[in-house]
């Protein structure tokens, strides 16, 4: 069974003459452990697609189902809990909470889910160490480099052990070296941990890390490419 299924997913912003169709009847499905990149020109609807799958925004028409839950049927609280337990988010601008340490930031989703802070932080520390940040646990975001901040964000996305990671231009704000590190990390998450990853990017080099690339244009899926990988490369 697919982890994610979208059916004729449509999003229209505004109404009447000023209406803009950001997403136009998009139907895709994503398997557990699959690494999918979404590409396309600016304004093609890639971020909108990600937001709708993540339950951050409501679809105008059509539906999204995540692990068998139709998001349209969920109220705000259930949707929030679903996000907390089944999904992890990584954003272009990291969006770490500036007043919390790397450890506390990474532990947030578990803490919000009601775990004991000590337990949550133990899990978070494991993830951060795995990403090479073992020595930076008590640093605040402003004391970390962009690449380091993004790694904290990925640790945060993984800490609740979700089945799905949604990454919106995760390398958009990073230099080439850090970008490669982050993309590699996301691939590792998908292949070694078996999590599905959906990554929006406009960088073909970064998209090449994925198993499959979905191309969007004017809100529609225009092309899908399956990439054959030499696992030595990536």
């Amino acid at each position: 069974m697919s982890l994610i299924t979208t059916s004729k997913l449509t999003k229209i912003y505004g109404s009447g003459a000023t209406a803009v169709t950001a997403l136009d009847h998009v139907s895709i499905s994503i398997q557990p452990g699959e690494f999918v990149a979404v590409m396309g020109p600016s304004g093609c609807g890639k971020s909108t697609l990600l937001h709708l799958i993540g339950g951050l925004d409501k679809a105008s028409q059509g539906s999204v189902s995540v692990d068998g839950h139709n998001l349209n049927d969920l109220d705000d609280d259930s949707l929030t809990k679903l996000r907390r337990r089944k999904m992890g988010f990584v954003f272009q601008f990291y969006n770490l909470i500036p007043v919390l340490t790397a450890l506390e930031n990474a532990a947030l989703p578990v803490t919000l889910d009601g775990s004991q802070p000590a337990e949550a932080q133990k899990k978070a520390a494991e993830w951060l160490s795995r990403f090479g940040l073992g020595g930076r646990l008590s640093h605040r975001p402003d004391q970390l480099s962009g690449g380091q901040q993004q790694r904290v964000a990925i640790a945060r996305a993984l800490v609740a052990e979700p089945q799905l990671i949604l990454a919106d231009e995760p390398t958009g704000n990073l230099d080439t070296k850090s970008s490669d590190e982050i993309a590699g990390l996301l691939r590792q998450v998908s292949k070694e941990l078996g999590r599905a990853v959906i990554m929006v990017t406009h960088d073909p080099r970064i998209a090449a890390y994925a198993d499959r690339i979905i191309f969007l244009k004017d809100g529609k899926v225009v092309e899908e490419t399956i990439l054959e990988k030499n696992s030595q490369n990536h």
Partner: protein
């Protein structure tokens, strides 16, 4: 720790200065409410301890219900009652001692400021209580100017048995021979001086009178028997008497209570402002943190978690503010009590201890402090909880609903403004004060809608100044684009400035009124002033002989005196001031709010009163009404013919009547305050010396020239006004700094835009000018609102006080100037640092700023 609390504390700690400033207002409010409400109970507790200490082994203490003296026949009547073992009547008076009276040394602080003179009938007094002498003998029936005093008093005055004790009295300086010494006092209270009743009557001018009856019932009387006896006493004496000790401090406490209410209102105002500042800060905080909040939502924080986080911040600040406020309030109470100790011990010889803390008050203060903070945070917290996760990704997503909110706010604001204007026209103090607060709220509500027109007007004014830089229009557009944020900033400064203008209005009106009043009522050439002004009952005055001999001095045109009696009407304590209308009008005068100088003549024609504003309010009467005054012999109706006040009695519930009536109905002939007018031709210096010589026999009075007294009183008033102004300034400070804060945030938030301007070719000085122009525009808008609000608030305050005090509203030109200068200064000040930062910004970094 709970995640909400962790986040709340971290955010608060992350902005320490802002946290401190917003908390300051709460601290201030709680401090005033708690501190002031702690002072009075402490004083009352001390007074009760004093009274209990004095009552000792006595079963019942009986005084006149009116508070004055009465015929000793009442005591005889009680002696006949069944179950009564002993009855003793006495005449007791607190005698204030002039400064340095005991040691004659002005360099050392006085340990003794007052004594209690007690006139007793020696043998009868002994049937009530024991007089365990340590030296000498007890008083006997043949004694005249003899006294029994305590060992401690003897030590303080360095006298022993057989020596002479000199005391001021109504008949001039009196010398008493010490015949016996009692052990040093253990309980707090006055040092007692026991003299034969006739001697005490002579010294106080209360011939043939007593003012206290002490009564002991037969031994082994149980509770029910005592109740029976009490009922019999009450039935026998009627309503002119009451069971209970003399309360010398009644008038003083009335005054204190008034002050306490005033400061409590001030505290509530401070809390209101605190709430407003916190509301504003939280609104800024929420808009600043939209991205963080959106992120938390995206990570799975429910709306409840976000709501809880913001409310937790409010709660922490409220707790912190209330805690610090309680702590400081306690020490303020300690300070006030320390300061009050001097006057209290000299006026009514109260020893004040440490502040009495009532758990109820602590609870109410904390509740008020926390309640205000949490309430103020509620709306911002709800709006924070409505932030969608999407805003973490697209921060500018939610500008759509602002227009509609602005519309609703404007309509509600106009409605409130109308209501508050209606309140002013009603001329009801109870409506005007809340009306003032409503007016401020209405300004806050309408301000977003007014930003654009205001910005246009001021933009036109500032444009020429900044025209050379070509950015005048830009600053104005920047403001018009974000009406809500501008309104938040403007309303923050508005409150601070409104307070300054209101204080200006109040102070200039008061100075105008009091200055005039001082001239009117204390415009005499020479005055004999008792130690305690306005609390007349604790002063030993002089017999009419003093005034007569002053009149006899060559060059003295007229002498006017005050005589004092306590009374009650409808159970309310009132001060009666006896004047000789003719002399009084010549030498001094009242400020009339109803009636005029012709009313003086009416005082001599019948039983009539001129009353002050407090009297009318407290007794709910009007000019023309008749009130019943409680006298030692029963109720007597008096008609109110006019409403007027003088400065000295303005704060007390006071009625003026003729000295003839005061003597007939209350038996008082003692002068407690004297004013002299000299002939123009007289040699001021020579007469001054003669007046001082005559007054020397009455050391309870300080002889002082009118000009000197005016200067010293005016100095005191000015100091008091300065205090009021400072208090207001303190209140204004947090909100002014809040404005500084918001302005700075404004610039920081527009970093990217500034980078863009630089990239497009703006010079550094153009950027500086842009930020400055914007800050000045903002400040100007806040200042205009502040002045409007302040004018209303000031007018409301004056109108509210006017009900008690006849005072006109003086337009606070100085306050407006102060507000203009402060507003623009803070505006410029607030711009300096951000402007420098903005100008110094690296273009590329600024463009990348998020």
């Amino acid at each position: 720790m709970n995640i909400q609390l962790t986040l709340a504390t971290r955010y608060l700690l992350g902005r320490k200065l802002r946290t401190f400033l917003t908390t300051l207002a709460i601290i201030f409010g709680v401090l005033l409410i708690f501190g002031m409400n702690t002072v009075l109970p402490t004083m009352i507790a001390a007074l009760q301890a004093n009274v209990q200490g004095a009552e000792g082994s006595v079963d019942f203490t009986i005084t006149s219900a009116a508070g004055g003296s009465f015929e000793p026949a009442a005591a005889e009547q009680l002696r006949q009652l069944d179950g009564v073992r002993a009855v003793a009547a006495s005449l007791q008076r607190t005698v204030n001692l002039p400064a340095d009276f005991v040691d004659g040394d002005s360099s050392r602080p006085d340990t003794l400021n007052a004594i209690k003179l007690i006139g007793i009938t020696p043998e009868i007094a002994r049937s009530i209580r024991a007089y365990p002498l340590v030296e000498g003998r007890y008083l006997n029936d043949s004694d005249n100017a003899s006294a029994v005093i305590s060992q401690t008093l003897a030590d303080a005055c360095s006298v022993k048995v057989g020596d002479t004790l000199r005391l001021p009295s109504a008949a001039g300086m009196t010398e008493l021979t010490i015949v016996g010494l009692l052990p040093g006092r253990l309980a707090a209270g006055n040092e007692d001086v026991f003299v034969p009743l006739a001697q005490a009557q002579k010294m106080t001018g209360e011939t043939g009178k007593v003012n206290l009856i002490e009564l002991n019932v037969q031994a082994f009387a149980d509770e029910s028997r005592r109740a029976e006896i009490q009922a019999a006493i009450e039935a026998s004496l009627g309503e002119n008497f009451r069971i209970g000790a003399l309360m010398a401090g009644d008038e003083l406490f009335a005054t204190l209570e008034l002050g306490q209410v005033g400061l409590s209102i001030f505290g509530v105002l401070a809390l209101f402002m605190g709430g407003f500042i916190i509301f504003n800060t939280f609104r800024t905080v929420v808009s600043e943190r939209r991205r963080d909040i959106g992120m938390l939502r995206a990570l799975g924080a429910t709306r409840g978690v976000i709501l809880g986080m913001i409310l937790a911040e409010g709660l922490i600040q409220g707790l912190l503010g209330s805690g610090i406020g309680l702590f400081l309030g306690y020490w303020m109470a300690v300070g006030v009590i320390r300061i009050a100790q001097g006057p209290m011990s000299s006026f009514i010889n109260l020893q004040l201890g440490w502040p009495v803390i009532s758990p109820g008050l602590v609870f109410v203060s904390v509740l008020a402090g926390m309640g205000v903070t949490v309430l103020a945070g509620l709306i911002p917290a709800f709006s924070a909880s409505r932030v969608t996760p999407l805003e973490a990704l697209r921060p500018s997503a939610s500008e759509t609903s602002i227009k509609r909110q602005t519309g609703y706010g404007f309509i509600a604001g106009v409605g409130l403004a109308m209501l508050s204007l209606a309140a002013i026209f009603s001329r009801q103090a109870a409506l005007i004060i809340p009306g003032g607060l409503l007016f401020l709220v209405s300004l806050v509500l309408v301000s977003p809608a007014l930003v654009r027109p205001f910005a246009n007007i001021f933009g036109r004014l500032t444009a020429p100044i900044f025209a050379r830089q070509g950015i005048g229009g830009l600053a104005q557009n920047n403001l018009s684009r974000q009406p809500t944020r501008v309104a938040v900033t403007a309303s923050a400064s508005m409150l601070g400035l409104a307070v300054i203008v209101a204080a200006g209005g109040l102070v200039s009106s008061m100075t105008g009124m009091l200055g005039g009043m001082l001239k009117d009522s204390l415009g005499s050439d020479y005055l004999l002033v008792p130690p305690s002004i306005g609390v007349w009952s604790s002063n030993v005055g002089a017999t009419p002989a003093l005034a007569e001999s002053l009149r006899g001095l060559d060059g003295v045109e007229a002498v006017s005196t005050f005589r004092y009696a306590a009374s009650k009407t409808n159970g309310l304590a009132v001060s009666l001031i006896g004047i000789e209308p003719g002399d009084f009008e010549r030498v001094s005068g009242l400020v009339f709010s109803e009636g005029n100088r012709s009313s003086y003549a009416e005082l001599t024609e019948a039983r009539t009163l001129i009353v002050n504003g407090s009297f009318l309010i407290a007794t709910k009467t009007r000019v023309g009404d008749t009130v019943e005054l409680l006298t030692p012999t029963g109720r007597i109706p008096y008609r109110i013919v006019a409403a007027a006040t003088d400065l000295l009695n303005a704060k007390l519930t006071t009625a003026y009547l003729s000295q003839a009536n005061l003597q007939a109905d209350f038996g008082v002939t003692e002068d407690v305050f004297l004013q002299l007018d000299l002939r123009d031709s007289a040699d001021q210096q020579a007469i001054g010396a003669k007046v001082r010589a005559l007054a020397a026999a009455y050391p309870q009075f300080k002889a002082i020239s009118g000009a000197e007294y005016y200067a010293s009183l005016m100095g005191m008033l000015e100091a008091a006004f300065l205090g009021i102004y400072l208090l207001f300034a303190l209140l204004a400070l947090p909100s002014l700094i809040a404005m500084l804060n918001t302005l700075a945030i404004n610039v920081i938030e527009r970093t990217r835009e500034i980078g863009m301007l630089r990239a497009l070719g703006s010079t550094r000085s153009q950027i500086r000018a842009l930020v400055l122009a914007e800050a000045l525009l903002l400040a100007a808008i806040g200042t205009v609102f502040g002045i409007l609000g302040g004018l209303y608030l000031g007018y409301a305050l004056v109108t509210a006080i006017e009900v008690i005090f006849p005072m006109g509203y003086y337009f606070p030109m100085s306050g407006i100037l102060a507000a203009l200068v402060t507003g623009l200064l803070f505006g410029a000040l607030a711009a300096i640092i951000p402007a420098r930062q903005a100008a110094a910004m690296n273009v590329v970094e600024a463009l990348r700023y998020e």
